[in-house]
Amino acid sequence: MLTRRTVLAGVGGVFAAGAAGRSFGAAREPLRCGLTPVLLTSDLDLLEALRVYLTAATGRDVEIVTRRTYQEITSLLVSGQLDAAWICGYPFVAYRSELDLLAVPIWRGRPLYQSYLIAAADRQARSIDDLAGDIHAFSDPDSNSGFLVTAAELAAKGQRPERFFHQTFFTYGHRNVVRAVASGLAQSGSVDGYVFEVLKEVEPSLTQAIRIVRASDWYAFPPMASPALARGSARTAALRRALLGAHRDPAGQRLLAALRLDSFAEENPSLYAPIATNMNLVRSIG
């Protein structure tokens, strides 16, 4: 669904290389890459830039698949209906055994990003404790920065979001969290720090009414993942090559510039261990 909801909504997105099962016998079938909401001004332009680059870099037709929620994309990826997807670190660790790490975006020199707690600019809040009793906007229940980080912080205090906050709701997009807080629909929100920083640059009118209450620890950047089923397939390999070589290709550079990323890199999956820890902490509290 390419509405405004998807336009700048949040990264956590994914694109995925085709499911191995299908792609083995059908080399001419297009590569299917999944993407949850993208963040830049025109998602159509961005989708097209991504498709054009991957098509050129892999030498195959590429189809970009978008869905409203992380869960839908994750399901498609895990079930092998996508060759690759740009997913969040949270579903990556949740489905660790069924997914392989394809590439990790490098942002400002590191494969890391933060989660922000945001509130209206005129609020004096300095920590999550000052946000107790708020109407709080989360991005997606499967988002690390847009949900899990905040939930884990509360879990560490023995709290659960629905008790700590007066009311919570999901906007299914990081940009929507910013809109909800900026409009006053929510008094505070949990948002992807990378998306917020990009929004500050491309849509300052939206972010100027917002202040960052606290930035979380650094977490591994939402990865490009592929289904474990397709491990070692030519399609997956082609996609990995394309991603890792993007910063050396003019079209790839344009794509990276649009995404405000430096490059894609190979990283050790252990980078995502803190997210797994958070996940377990939240699950432990029930």
């Binding site: 405004r4 009311q167 709701f169 999901f170 929507n176 909800a180």
Partner: protein
């Protein structure tokens, strides 16, 4: 309109009244037309607002149903936010969605209507479900619509719209309409005024000619004032001139008749006077003869001269009275007791001829200021009529009395058979009574005319003598006024 009852308009001449009425009617038409057009415009606009707002709410209801069921604030907000710019003429200012219990699920302005707050009171009171409430001062319209799934209410959608553009449009239309209608009305008022004034102009000409007629005559309308040939007014003017001619002829005829009557009276008197003069003439001639023959005798001469002197004095009195009465031009001479005496002298021959007896009572030492000639003529006419009515050996009476307030009352009574009703009507009627067919009423008609001229009144009644009594009540008038009027 009855002038006695009307205000200034009622008293105004028709040449002013008719154009004013025409102009007023034009103004009323203008006002009524403006009011009708404007109320129609208002109705059309309200229907338009209704349709636009309904379309807006209907368009929202469907995408909102699912989020309201899920109680998803973001989805509701996002839907409202996207719909914010859909409608142009009626711009939604605020839209709020509440659940079935009246708690806000989300609104387009979450700061004003936070999640969980009570639903707004903005639309509920005036409009009611599906109906529009308009606050013209604020330029706002409020509408609500319930959200239901399979007949079960799940929430309510409230919207506040900025309709100031529509209202401004209406205001524009109002001013344009008012300006146009005012201009047209003024134009029509002027045209109405002009046209009606033109139409009633002949009436003014007629009225002026009637009013300007001096001395009872009617001045015909000059051909110069005639409108074009064949017009209604031209026809009317020609008829007026024919009538004026007839009236003037009648007046001339009446004047001639009056003159003839006067001369006839003179004739009657002259014969009496001749007799009156003739009677002493025999004695006078005898006295002259006596003088001729016995003039040398002082005694005889003295007696004869005295006789001649008395005889000539009597003749002189009669002649002077007649002269005073029939002098053609006598200016504004004031009434004096001598006038009564003259009338008495003039009447004597008639009285003697018919062996009639006259009771003569002058109970006035000083007379009010009244014109002499008309009264003298009037009195003579009345007394001659009374003499004629009383017959041989009849009785007449004359009484002149002055009032304290300065008026004069003259009463002539006779022992005749009584004045016929037609004659009495000539004296006391509305002045429209015609002269009796046989010409006998001419003397009475002249009396009436003379008394009218000097502003007196006439009463006719029965007399103690068995006949008719005619009373003239004359007010003290300035001589000058009478002279001018004459």
């Amino acid at each position: 309109m009855n002038p006695a009852r009307g205000g200034w308009l009622g008293r105004a001449p028709i040449t002013v009244k008719a154009p004013v009425v025409a102009a007023l009617l034009m103004a009323i038409v203008g006002v009524v037309a403006s009011e009708r057009v404007l109320s129609r415009l208002v109705a059309i606009q309200e229907r338009q607002i209704n349709e636009l707002t309904s379309a807006y709410l209907e368009g929202l209801a469907s995408p909102l149903t699912e989020p309201v069921l899920r109680r998803d604030p973001w989805e509701i907000f996002n839907t409202l936010d996207q719909a914010r710019h859909l409608s142009s003429l009626v711009r939604p200012v605020e839209t709020v969605v509440s659940d079935a219990e009246g708690h806000v699920l989300a609104g387009s302005d979450p700061r004003a209507r936070p999640i969980g707050s009570r639903q707004p009171a903005m639309a509920a009171p005036a409009g009611g479900e599906g109906r529009i409430a308009i606050d013209e001062e604020a330029g706002r319209a409020f509408v609500s619509r319930s959200l239901a799934v399979e007949g079960t209410a799940i929430g309510t959608l409230y919207s506040e719209f900025d309709i100031s553009e529509l209202l401004a449009e209406r205001q524009d239309a109002l001013w344009t309409l008012l300006a146009t209608n005012a201009g047209l009305t003024l134009g029509f008022m002027f045209l109405g005024w002009f046209a009606v004034r033109r139409m009633v102009r002949p009436m003014k000409v007629l009225s002026d000619h009637l009013a300007q007629s001096p001395e009872g005559g009617i001045r015909p309308i000059s051909p110069r004032l005639f409108p074009r040939l064949g017009s209604e007014a031209g026809h009317l003017f020609r008829r007026f001139n024919q009538m004026a001619e007839a009236v003037n002829e009648n007046a001339a005829l009446a004047a001639r008749l009056a003159e003839e009557q006067r001369l006839a009276g003179l004739g009657r008197l002259t014969s009496g006077m001749a007799h009156e003069i003739n009677n002493p003439l025999g004695g006078l001639l005898n006295a002259v003869d006596t003088l001729r023959r016995h003039g040398d005798k002082p005694m005889v001469r003295t007696r004869a001269v005295s006789l001649i002197e008395r005889g000539l004095s009597g003749i002189r009195d009669v002649v002077q009275a007649a002269l005073a009465t029939y002098r053609e031009k006598d200016g504004g001479r004031q009434l004096s007791l001598q006038d009564f005496e003259d009338v008495r002298i003039l009447l004597q021959p008639e009285l003697r001829r018919h062996a009639q007896n006259l009771d003569w009572h002058i109970e006035a030492t000083s007379l009010p200021s009244l014109p002499g000639n008309p009264i003298r003529q009037t009195l003579l006419n009345l007394l001659l009529n009374a003499s004629a009515a009383s017959g041989e050996g009849g009785r007449l009476s004359f009484r002149a009395t002055t009032h304290r307030e300065g008026g004069l009352c003259l009463e002539v009574a006779d022992s005749g058979p009584g004045l016929p009703a037609a004659g009495a009507a000539l004296l006391t009627g509305d002045g429209a009574s015609a002269i009796l067919g046989d010409g006998k009423g001419l003397g009475l008609w002249m009396v009436r005319r003379l008394v009218d001229e000097i502003g007196g009144t006439i009463e006719v009644g029965g007399s103690d003598l068995g006949g008719t009594s005619i009373r003239l009540e004359l007010k003290n008038v300035a001589m000058e006024r009478h002279s001018n009027a004459a």
